[in-house]
């Protein structure tokens, strides 16, 4: 029977809204993607500096940023096909991360080529951008962990202006990546798998 009372109607509305909310924990993908890509970019940077090939750093950043943009676009498209629905929030989240990547392309590739600043400032700028993306995501999907990560990235951006020792510099960045992206990424990804019954 399909007849419902007014109270049951309210329950149906609540239930359908909750079901849609669950889908958004799939943003764990973006955390993981960026954690892994930036880790690779840092390793490449470290190798290039060690080899005296500093001038190639901007190109390695460009490769990882463009790679991330393509991967995010493909993921957003496949998510739509798999879920069978799209919504403004999905579009908003994809836009935030793809927009962040485009900004990172400028920060890590175009501006250094134009001699706007030295290569080590890339860290500070990248931290600020990832912080914005994490905080915006956290507000949209109501996840405190993402908000907290965004704040940590911003604190990191200040630290990178103060730290002068290269090894400490790299260590802090790797630590930020693990705490801010890799761990929450796995957490959000597993949460989504459980909620979707996979």
């Amino acid at each position: 029977m399909d007849q419902i009372t007014n109270e049951q109607a309210l329950e149906v509305i609540k239930d359908m809204i909750e079901r849609r909310k669950m889908k958004h924990n799939q943003t764990g993908f973006y955390h993981l993607l960026w954690g892994i890509l930036i880790s690779c970019a840092i390793v490449a940077m470290y190798v290039l500096v060690g080899s005296g090939l500093d001038h190639l750093i901007v190109y390695s950043w460009a490769i990882f940023v463009v790679g991330g943009a393509v991967a995010s676009f493909v993921y957003a498209k496949r998510t739509y096909e798999k879920q069978g629905s799209s919504k403004d929030l999905d579009l908003g989240l994809s836009s935030i991360w793809i927009g962040t990547m485009i900004a990172m392309f400028f920060v890590a590739f175009i501006f250094p080529i134009l001699n706007a600043y030295k290569w080590h400032v890339i860290y500070t700028m990248v931290c600020l951008l990832i912080g914005i993306a994490n905080i915006s995501t956290g507000i949209l999907i109501k996840q405190k962990i993402s908000l907290f990560n965004g704040i940590l990235w911003w604190i990191g951006s200040i630290l990178f202006l103060i730290i002068r020792n290269e090894l400490v510099f790299m260590g802090v960045f790797v630590l930020l990546l693990v705490v801010n992206n890799i761990i929450p990424g796995f957490h959000l990804y597993n949460l989504a798998r459980k909620q979707n019954g996979n």
Partner: protein, 104 residues
């Protein structure tokens, strides 16, 4: 407390049709499989409810082919959006009345 069903839109006031409308309100468009999975109904049941909503012009269904497979994109119309808005307002008023009566 008398339940006044007349105030609520009878086309929307059913478990499946209300669920369809609320899901579509949150999406730009959705396909048949997605709605079937979320609402947990049979193909025939979902089809008949979708037909009813389409007849009322609350939803529109756009059929297409992707990789030679038929696909149906279902979305709310402006009329459907307005009707759901009205429905939730009336429901809210009703629940508010019930709550007030209980306090008395």
């Amino acid at each position: 407390m008398e339940t006044n069903f007349a105030e609520l839109d009878s086309i929307i006031h059913s478990r499946v049709r209300l669920a369809i409308m609320v899901l579509l309100l949150q999406t730009e468009s959705a396909n048949f499989t997605y709605l079937k999975k979320e609402i947990d109904v049979s193909d025939g049941n979902l089809s008949s409810h979708l037909r009813k909503l389409e007849e009322a012009k609350y939803i529109k269904m756009k059929k297409s082919f992707e990789n030679r497979k038929p696909k149906t994109a279902i979305s709310l119309t402006d009329k459907g959006r307005t009707a759901l808005d009205e429905y939730t307002k009336n429901l809210e008023e009703y629940l508010h009345l019930v709550s007030e009566n209980k306090q008395k």
